[in-house]
């Protein structure tokens, strides 16, 4: 389990995270939602160890990150896969080289073994026949697939995704969402996704954490989100007419 206790983070005068506590379970896709400026990205970067919180604890299956030495921290980082908003693929490398990169850095596998692993994860994300292409030759959806393949190539225990659907058409976005959910269940990993996308909330939100002004304002499942009367959540999630109607239909149905 990934547990967060009383997390505080400030940048100068700005107190961005104000005592967030929550937990994320194995085999479930957990979504962190909230308006721009609510502290989602800072929260995710704190989980990843890119920001050091002033107060609070982040524990990876009982290992409190701030209490670990450099070697132990590096060990945890090897167990983390990350899918960035812009994919963050290495421009100078082909698809195959991008996915092979973590294997090259952290395993003693030979070229044949590495290639086998690369091809199997590329197949898993439904991206075959693109091994020799460079990131600049790929579409947005393909880049996301490569980023997911790179994130899972070392069999991570934790998968973090920062707005994996941004810039994608609705159909591709749903495919990427479903792929992340399938991988989460198949590999039995802890997945935390930062998103603005309400389709993702409805589609794959096993757990949803709603942040408002650096505070956890609500948490629950995608079913709970239909029933909640938390004003901040309702205003955020059902800001469009379409989702308002979806909610009304759901409640009438019940």
């Amino acid at each position: 389990m990934l547990e967060v206790k009383n997390l505080h983070k400030s940048f100068g005068e700005a107190h961005v995270l104000k005592g967030i506590s929550t937990s994320f379970e194995k085999g479930k896709t957990s979504l962190v939602i909230g308006q721009s400026g609510s502290g989602k990205t800072v929260f995710l970067k704190s989980l990843l160890g890119l920001h050091t919180p002033e107060e609070g604890e982040i524990s990876f299956d009982g290992r409190v990150f701030s209490k670990l030495n450099q070697h132990e921290k590096r060990q945890i980082r090897k167990e983390i896969g990350m899918v960035f908003q812009g994919s963050a693929l290495y421009d100078s490398m082909t698809v195959e080289e991008n996915v092979m990169f973590p294997l090259k850095m952290f395993t003693e596998d030979n070229k044949v073994q590495m290639l086998q692993r690369v091809n199997s994860v590329l197949e898993r994300v439904n991206l075959t026949h693109a091994n020799a292409k460079y990131p600049s030759e790929l579409s947005g959806g393909m880049k996301k697939r490569v980023a997911i393949a790179r994130a899972i190539v070392l069999n991570p225990k934790y998968l973090f995704c920062d707005e994996p659907n941004s810039g994608l058409d609705p159909q591709t976005a749903i495919l990427i969402d479903n792929l992340i959910r399938e991988i989460t269940r198949e590999y039995d990993i802890i997945t935390v996704i930062n998103t603005h996308d309400m389709n993702s909330v409805m589609e794959i939100g096993d757990k949803i954490v709603f942040l408002k002004d650096g505070v956890k304002a609500w948490e629950g499942t995608k079913e709970d989100i239909f029933r909640t009367d938390n004003e901040a959540v309702v205003n955020f999630v059902y800001s469009s007419k379409l989702y308002k109607k979806v909610r009304e239909a759901y409640l009438n149905d019940k």
Binding site: L50, K73, Q75, K78, F84, A88, Y90, K104, M105
Partner: protein, 246 residues
């Protein structure tokens, strides 16, 4: 950040750069790629500039030596001395600060703004060591070769200029370049080159690695890197000359 804070941050960066590479095999691969990118791809411009600067020095010296009491072989001697002592190491380094320095800042800066550096760090990879150390080793190995090439081509350029302009005779020029050869001057030039090469890579990498924002900031960082690298090279040139020749 104040200038003093930048200097502090630069030295803290160096501490991270000079750590043992996480994987030697990957380091050697990167090193060969950097020798190609930063060294071999600069051969053309270094050869071109070295040749023509030598030509210009020879012509200018010839035009200024109009007294019959000054021997013509001094043209070759002055061209050789100027190329070895100053034009090859310093002039070529300033040119490379523009070409290679801006390339390093913009490539590392783009990696920073497109989160590629974050991706390295999340994996537990020391991004400074991974990205900068192979560049430093590549230029320290290759730039002395480039500067020695520029010295030879400069002296050759001077001779070709003399033939084309009829300002001096080949015999005089050859006598001049053979006169009073001091191997310490070549050593001095190579020491300067090594220091300048180190400055070009590390100052440019520092500016690239700390970029925040987007494409505009990457452009600004590249300009800043070239300006600061050139300033540091000129200042160090003064101090090194004073220390090594004074």
């Amino acid at each position: 950040m104040t200038n003093l804070e930048h200097i502090g941050a630069y030295f803290l960066m160096l501490k991270e750069v000079f750590k043992k590479p996480q994987k030697w095999k990957v380091f050697w691969e990167l090193l060969s790629r950097e020798i190609d990118d930063l060294g071999l791809k600069s051969l053309g411009i270094v050869a071109f500039i070295g040749f023509f600067v030598g030509g210009v020095v020879a012509i200018q010296t010839a035009l200024n030596v109009d007294s019959p009491f000054i021997p013509k072989y001094l043209i070759g001697f002055a061209t050789k001395r100027s190329m070895i002592l100053e034009f090859a190491p310093t002039f070529i380094s300033v040119i490379l600060a523009g070409k290679v320095g801006s390339y390093i800042t913009s490539s590392i800066g783009t990696m920073r703004v497109t989160e590629q550096i974050d991706a390295l760090e999340i994996m537990g990879i020391n991004s400074l060591n991974y990205l900068v150390l192979p560049k430093v080793v590549a230029v320290l190995f290759f730039y002395p070769i480039l500067v020695i090439l520029a010295m030879f081509l400069g002296i050759l350029g001077g001779w070709v200029a003399g033939i084309l302009t009829d300002l001096f005779f080949t015999e005089d020029y050859i006598t001049g370049i053979q006169l009073e050869f001091n191997p310490y001057f070549v050593k001095y030039a190579i020491i300067k080159t090594l220091v300048f090469a180190f400055v070009i890579v590390t100052v440019s990498a520092y500016h690239g690695h700390k970029v925040q924002g987007g494409a505009l900031e990457v452009g600004r960082a590249s300009t800043k890197a070239v300006v600061w690298t050139s300033v540091v090279i000129i200042l160090l040139n003064y101090f090194l000359t004073q220390m090594l020749l004074g």
